[in-house]
Symmetry: C2
Subunit: 325 residues, 2 copies
Amino acid sequence: MKALIIGAAGMVGKKLTQRILDKDSPLHQLSELVLYDIIDAQKPETSINTKILSGDISKNDQAKVLAAEKPDIIYHLASIVSGEAEENFGKGWQTNAQGTWNLLQELLRITENIDSNYKPKLVFTSSIAVFGAPFPNKIDDEFLCAPQTSYGAQKAITEMLISDYSRKGFIDGISIRLPTICVRPGKPNLAASGFFSGIIREPLNNKEAILPVSDQVRHWHASPRSATHFLTHAGTMDLSQLGTRRSLNMPGVSCTVEEQIDALRQIAGNKVTSKIRHEPNPKIIKIVEGWPRNFDPVRATALGFKSESTFSEIVKVYLDDDFEK
Amino acid sequence: MKALIIGAAGMVGKKLTQRILDKDSPLHQLSELVLYDIIDAQKPETSINTKILSGDISKNDQAKVLAAEKPDIIYHLASIVSGEAEENFGKGWQTNAQGTWNLLQELLRITENIDSNYKPKLVFTSSIAVFGAPFPNKIDDEFLCAPQTSYGAQKAITEMLISDYSRKGFIDGISIRLPTICVRPGKPNLAASGFFSGIIREPLNNKEAILPVSDQVRHWHASPRSATHFLTHAGTMDLSQLGTRRSLNMPGVSCTVEEQIDALRQIAGNKVTSKIRHEPNPKIIKIVEGWPRNFDPVRATALGFKSESTFSEIVKVYLDDDFEK
């Protein structure tokens, strides 16, 4: 089995690569792996045949390059992030929507012209940004997509394309709507959601963290380890169970920032949480107001997707998987 | 004010053209009219400056031609119909989704490069095909788009593009989700929904009509006159009232086929309705099972969109507007 990871050099892409190359890999039939990103992904240590490719999926020639690999399973994790898609409208649409559409067209061309049995599995990381306020208390599996950002609209459109290509039998696709992934390892990034990870990661590493919103803000989280599980589970399950509704809200933990900080205090003590400084940022406050707070992911749970159930578990996953002592 | 109608040679396009050229036109500032379709639209009798253009919006050069007109208001009614979009996958996507996306990109290019004040109003005819079963008894304004046809997916994606371009202030757009338009004048067409009009129009014209489904099938209808009103109302109202949710379910009449036939009988008598022959067609039965039956269009109604309230009224509109004695 040949797998392609688009966005392999990113945080989730790296963890997914590692996981599917484990000796207890959920993709146990894996025999070839293509790692694609805008920069070269790191070559993993493995006996499995690995190819590193780099390119920009916003360029119209890239879909052909990727489809020519004829992967059996494609993980599509790549995108311009929310803030950049908002700033650079054309680039966001070209990368996050047109790039994927081009890929779908090229995959279909392979099926139509070269191998009529070719029907790749496609696992796409969508986002809870497909939803827009006003929200119910808990967003259920039938809540409408009314995105309030270009990024959210691009994800929602890609979901629709994947559903229609799947309905027609050209691919076997699934879109998984990731919660905010927390605790992100590494350096702080400029994403508006970055502080949700920052207020945990930075104090644990003896650094100060800025909290730009009220501690009463409620949000929806899952760990990087859960994200990897969502992807491998999606990649190995029978997707016909989804019927024609191919987009799934993933499980997660709904909690307030105060509850996040309480969890950190219980695990690491007052001295650590005292590193968090509240410095309200009106711009971030406004963005975060438009974000989902809680979900009732009945379908995904019934299909075997699992996440942490408390924020303490999320902190512990960070300490286990990414914290460098 | 310059208006462009894309799809001007179609049934709704012709009625809209007529209406906005009326002496009591709702678009009373109209001074120039561009009629575009894949065939030449008929040149209307009017003192207003009119241009007839023909072309295929699936071709990538057409967006430039249309945007170069710099219309103040664009009615976009053109599409490959549902059945053809299902048969000819590539053509459907290229025409119904890529063609409109190209147009949006070209309009933005005009704004960015030529006239930074240019912000056209765009009225797009979407469809209740954006929805897919399973349905609630009444579809409310927050029901999710889970289309079960490529046509529905193409409409839903275009809606999202229009919402995002509007949110960014590049255009001022609205997508109106038309009910099945009934009674369509003219000859029977091959659309799966054609019989809803056929069972009224054909008997009134002393011809036999085939009913391919059970008379217990419930569906959602509005007259061509209502469709024209939806379009002119959308074209003259203040769209900022919509906020960021730019797609609206239009009002209509929910009734069963039996109720349709009863309405026809009351107006035209038993001899007319006896022309309807029930001849079940499993293919059409299956398609129609996936169609919406009833709506609760609270937002559109509050914004002043009106339709008939009984199917008898719909039959009478046909007799008034299109029946040739």
